[in-house]
């Protein structure tokens, strides 16, 4: 599609959507959001870019094939589950690290649940993009 307005708009939109997708990913543990929805929003960013500038430049911008992103995401999600082995807990037990925790504050809670969510984000992001790119490129 050759639309100057869309191309100009897409630059802002892509950046906004990507940042927003990370925001959704990170707030996902206690509030609406999470890896799935974050991945979808992130994928939408690249889809807009692909519509505005063509699939080949979207692939270039992504640098890695989207299928690889999805597979890597599966690996990261698996890592989030296997992490529990370090403390000898059951598979997929959430492991928590409270950064800077004091008596009355929990500090910054980091968890293996977040690792799993990042994995989900990558799987959704990668698989949606593989689908969309494949559909765009077909004759």
């Amino acid at each position: 599609m050759n639309s100057v307005i869309l191309m100009a708009g897409s630059r802002i939109l892509v950046a906004l959507l990507l940042v927003f997708s990370v925001f959704m990913l990170l707030r996902g543990h206690n509030e609406p959001g999470g890896g799935f929805i974050g991945g979808l929003i992130g994928a939408v960013g690249f889809v807009i870019y692909a519509i505005a500038c063509g699939t080949s430049s979207a692939r270039e911008a992504l640098r890695v094939p989207p299928e690889t992103v999805a597979a890597a995401g599966l690996g990261v999600a698996l890592l989030g589950g296997v992490w529990a082995a370090v403390d000898g807990d059951a598979f997929f037990t959430g492991q928590w690290l409270f950064l800077g925790a004091t008596e009355d504050s929990k500090g910054l809670p980091l968890s293996s649940v977040l690792v799993f969510d990042v994995g989900v984000y990558l799987v959704v992001f990668g698989s949606i993009l593989s689908l969309v790119f494949a559909l765009e490129e077909e004759v």
């Binding site: 690889t68 599966l74 690996g75 698996l78 589950g81 807990d89 059951a90 598979f91 037990t93």
Partner: protein, 510 residues
């Protein structure tokens, strides 16, 4: 305990990720083979533990049953996991000689490992909704494998396959929803306790029938089997072999699990329906096979027919019959996967699977002929191969139950199976090749030949071992059947009557 149960799932997933990231080189297939070997080791470890300690269960994420996801393995689950791993390893090795580089680059090995993970997951899960999830994992992976390469024929088979499986999935999910509405739980052990207490037992039977139809589609029983012969002859031979060996058996396993553990209130009705289904499945499958002239299509129809035997074991619902069903499951997975692998080699050296166009294999490839003969006659039930004992136990169980008709059907179907096998034998092996060529194994590159023949020979050897020393296997099947008919140990272990994984929920919350 948790890791013991989770390892057969973690390994194939990890192998899938690694194989996909390395899909452009030779390491992808090496990772796939290594992962399958590791998974086999992990499943054997699980089997040993189950044999020693009885049912094992673990709560994923340390959320206690019935709230979290439980993985549980009794003898039936454990043996299915082991046999999945054996088939997985055999096909992974075979695939190194069978799969083209193009299919590898499209991610064959990753999809294959995910499929194995899905099958294993369905066998070890102790939760109905989780079972649904594993079915989905399996469906997604199998659809990918089915259409990999993208020929027109494959897409045609794939569409039928996916459509009918989706219908089954929707039915399954609706059944799960209704069951949850009635009992408030989806943990299988918990359901075994709560379902008999539901006031409206009529509704329970309705839900039971929904599950029967849903799993019946997956297991390819009469009259829901037509997707199977329409799709199984189209993909790569490794793919057909693993589908034929494992996928329908997951449906049979789910039927056995659900109709021995949860829906046992009205066996007079549900198991009579199953008995009719079993009889028709056996007969229609074998008659369908008699009308086919393609190597793989004949074998596909035979899957349907053989599923009938397993359902028969479940339908009779006696200790001996269930033992027969378990024995049959194990025997059939090995034999059926092996026959499809043989058909792949025949395709490679004789140039097709259409029986009219090939021939002469007996004269010039006698090794392949022997390797076909073993699983084929085992399938038909020749003594002393594994199929004979499987059929013997089931026929004996039907006679003991006083059900002469079904015993007669089972024997007649066995006879017709021999007819189909001799048809393949006569056409593909004895008849001279119509084009006058001599199909030889030596025409294959040495590396391919090794990769193709070794798994076939190993599986054939396994068939012979089960056939010549059936005693421990039958004893094992009887123990497994005993556990199925008396699920108290299973329920207690899952629900924590025995000390399972310690619960530390409070500490895990932020």
């Amino acid at each position: 305990m948790s890791w013991l149960l989770a390892a057969p799932l973690i390994i194939p997933f990890a192998a899938a990720v690694a194989a996909f990231l390395l899909r452009n080189g030779p390491w992808g297939r090496r990772v796939s083979v290594a992962g399958s070997a590791l998974a086999l080791a992990a499943s054997v470890a699980l089997m040993v533990t189950v044999l020693q300690e009885g049912v094992v269960a673990a709560q994923m994420g340390a959320w206690p049953a019935p709230f979290g996801i439980t993985l549980a393995a009794d003898l039936l689950s454990a043996v299915m996991v082991v046999i999945t791993a054996i088939t997985g390893l055999a096909v992974a090795v075979y695939a190194t000689g069978d799969i083209t580089e193009r299919q590898e680059r499209l991610g064959f090995h990753a999809l294959f490992q995910v499929l194995l993970a899905g099958v294993t997951g369905a066998f070890v899960t102790g939760d109905l909704f989780n079972l649904y999830v594993w079915f989905e994992v399996m469906l997604i992976a199998s659809f990918g494998l089915l259409v990999l390469g993208g020929s027109k024929e494959q897409i045609d088979g794939g569409v039928k396959y996916v459509l009918l499986n989706l219908v089954s999935t929707i039915l399954f999910l609706s059944g799960v929803g209704l069951l949850y509405g009635m009992t408030g739980t989806l943990n299988m052990a918990d359901l075994a306790v709560t379902v008999p207490e539901v006031e409206n037992q009529g509704l329970v039977t309705v839900v039971a029938m929904m599950f029967m139809v849903a799993f019946g589609v997956k297991a390819a029983v009469f009259p829901l089997f037509f997707w199977l012969p329409a799709s199984y002859h189209t993909p790569a031979f490794s793919v057909s072999a693993v589908f034929a060996g494992l996928l329908t058996k997951v449906g049979v396993y789910a039927l056995i699990r659900v109709f021995t553990l949860i829906f046992t209130g009205d066996t007079g009705y549900t198991h009579t329906v199953l008995l009719w289904v079993a009889g028709f499945t056996m007969a229609v499958g074998v008659l369908g096979a008699a009308a086919q002239t393609d190597f793989r299509k004949i074998l596909s129809f035979h899957i349907v027919s053989q599923i009938g035997y397993m359902i028969l074991g479940l339908a009779l619902y006696t200790p001996l019959a269930l033992a027969g069903a378990v024995f049959y499951l194990v025997h059939h997975i090995i034999v059926k996967a092996n026959l499809f692998l043989v058909s792949g080699v025949a395709h490679r050296i004789a140039g097709g699977t259409e029986l009219g166009r090939i021939g002469g294999l007996y004269k010039t490839a006698p090794l392949l002929a022997v390797l076909f003969l073993i699983p084929a006659f085992s399938l038909a039930g020749f003594p002393p191969l594994s199929g004979f004992w499987a059929k013997y136990v089931l026929v004996k169980a039907s006679l003991e139950a006083g059900n002469w008709v079904i015993a007669g059907v089972a024997l007649a179907v066995g006879l017709l199976t021999i007819f189909s096998m001799t048809k393949i034998w006569g056409e593909a092996f004895w008849k001279p090749h119509p084009e006058g060529t001599d199909p030889r194994l030596s025409s294959l590159p040495a590396a391919d030949r090794r990769a193709l023949i070794v798994p076939i020979a190993a599986l054939a050897a396994l068939t012979c071992v089960i056939g010549l020393f059936p005693e421990p296997f039958v004893a094992f099947a009887e123990r497994a059947a005993g556990q199925l008919l008396d699920p108290e140990d299973y329920i207690l272990t899952v629900l924590g009557g025995r000390p399972a994984v310690p619960v530390q929920v409070a500490e895990a919350l932020p």
